[in-house]
Symmetry: C2
Subunit: 230 residues, 2 copies
DNA sequence: TTTAAAGCAATAAATTTTTATCGATTTTTT
DNA sequence: AAAAAATCGATAAAAATTTATTGCTTTAAA
């Protein structure tokens, strides 16, 4: 590995293990389920069982939040929930805009779950004249030309990119220029952002690749079994 | 870890490293980009640079497909593309149905990229009378009651779950009963499937958790800097 | 024709993430 | 009141993944 490559990698000085971070929403959902059921305490053993994980992993993951549990009892669910939420910053409202009011954009606007995570999508932007001026899921759609002004005036922190990949970088540059600090990218391209802006890309095809690999090995295994029978 | 926990974990005897699998679509997209540009060969160095990775990692990932490269030159792009595609089974058409013709379902139906990955969504199913009988993106929407019959008659392999979490398991059970072999789950719950069915869940909130963590540490760092200035 | 540079392939080292182990603590049972 | 069971927290070990190193091969330049 040369020095240039090294520097590219060093850009993300990660604090917490990403796999652990990714599991936190799972715990959160399960814990809220317990809450609805009227349960007050939960042990790692219980949580692990319900999520198909193992207890040590759950314990280690949850320890990121600084929660203290009691032996033989577990954690207080209310406290654990608020610990996870505050750990992720989900207890604070973060203003966002969404660029690309197409089908995917509409789906994200429609998913109520994100509101619970502090995500407040204030406006959507598009270039389609037919969409501009309308509302999608009670979120106003404005012209992309007004993006920068809106971001500046409303102190928007997060930008959600749901445009075709051909214009994703363009839109990103616009947002960065306007002062956006974080980008949640649903387009399948790597976005270039300055070091003072964070970016996270959702790769739907990555997930499909994993599924495809599972399918392939499943079918291969069955073929093998089939043959050995004869 | 007790024995029960061990068994839960052992269920997924993985063949290839999941992080590597997840990067394959990235390579594929970049390679197709090269193809459009008329480039014929690409080295790991080049690919790594363009994707923000390092060359050894790219080389190791690509070696999964069994491709052979030439020193000082790199890989033949056409061959590499077809190697990756066949490795993932994306060179074969796999029939799928989609359950839940809402906003998210519509977004998936509208994403042309999946067709390139061999995914052929033959029909969508819903319970909403207003949707049944219509077409979304030239994909017919049928009543959920007809799901089992359709899956059986058309030899559907993959089921895509885009229903609210409250009915996700129900729908899954229906599909499994009908003979579906793979489930691509967009609902935020863990689905129980028999061992002869594979399942992959897309966790959008996991991605948001990672972004949120980045935002939080970014803001924290800035605060620290701000304070040290005074 | 020789030398240098680029880069593949394989192997080794380092890092990260997961899993196991163990002692201590709290509750429940005897 | 003592013993047993559950489970936390911390530490250690194992496994998975990433990164580094080395030698060899191919191409291009001197």
């Amino acid at each position: 590995m040369n020095k240039a490559e090294k520097n590219v990698q060093r850009e993300d000085k990660k604090g917490y293990p990403s796999p652990s971070l990714q599991r936190l929403p799972l715990y959160l959902r399960q814990l809220k389920q317990y809450q609805r059921e009227g349960v007050e305490k939960a042990s790692c053993t219980r949580i692990a069982q319900d999520l198909g994980l193992i207890s040590v992993q759950v314990r280690k993951d949850l320890s990121m939040t600084g929660i203290a549990g009691r032996p033989k009892v577990g954690y207080n669910i209310d406290e654990l929930i608020s610990r996870i939420e505050s750990f992720l910053g989900w207890d604070k409202k973060r203003k966002a805009v969404l660029i690309g009011a197409g089908a995917l954009g509409g789906a994200i606007l429609g998913y109520a779950g994100f509101v619970e995570h502090g995500l407040s999508i204030c406006a959507a932007f598009d270039v389609d004249e037919k969409k501009i001026g309308t509302s999608i899921r009670s979120c106003p759609v404005y012209s992309l030309d007004d993006l920068e002004k809106f971001v500046e005036q409303n102190q928007i922190v997060i930008g959600i990119v749901t445009v075709p990949q051909s214009v994703a970088q363009l839109v990103t540059d616009k947002m960065v220029k306007a002062g956006i600090r974080a980008i949640w990218n649903y387009s399948p391209v790597r976005l270039n952002v300055p070091s003072n802006v964070v970016c996270e890309t959702v790769q739907l095809s990555s997930s499909f690749a994993v599924l495809s690999s599972k399918v392939k090995s499943m079918l291969a295994e069955e073929k093998k079994k089939e043959q050995s029978k004869q």
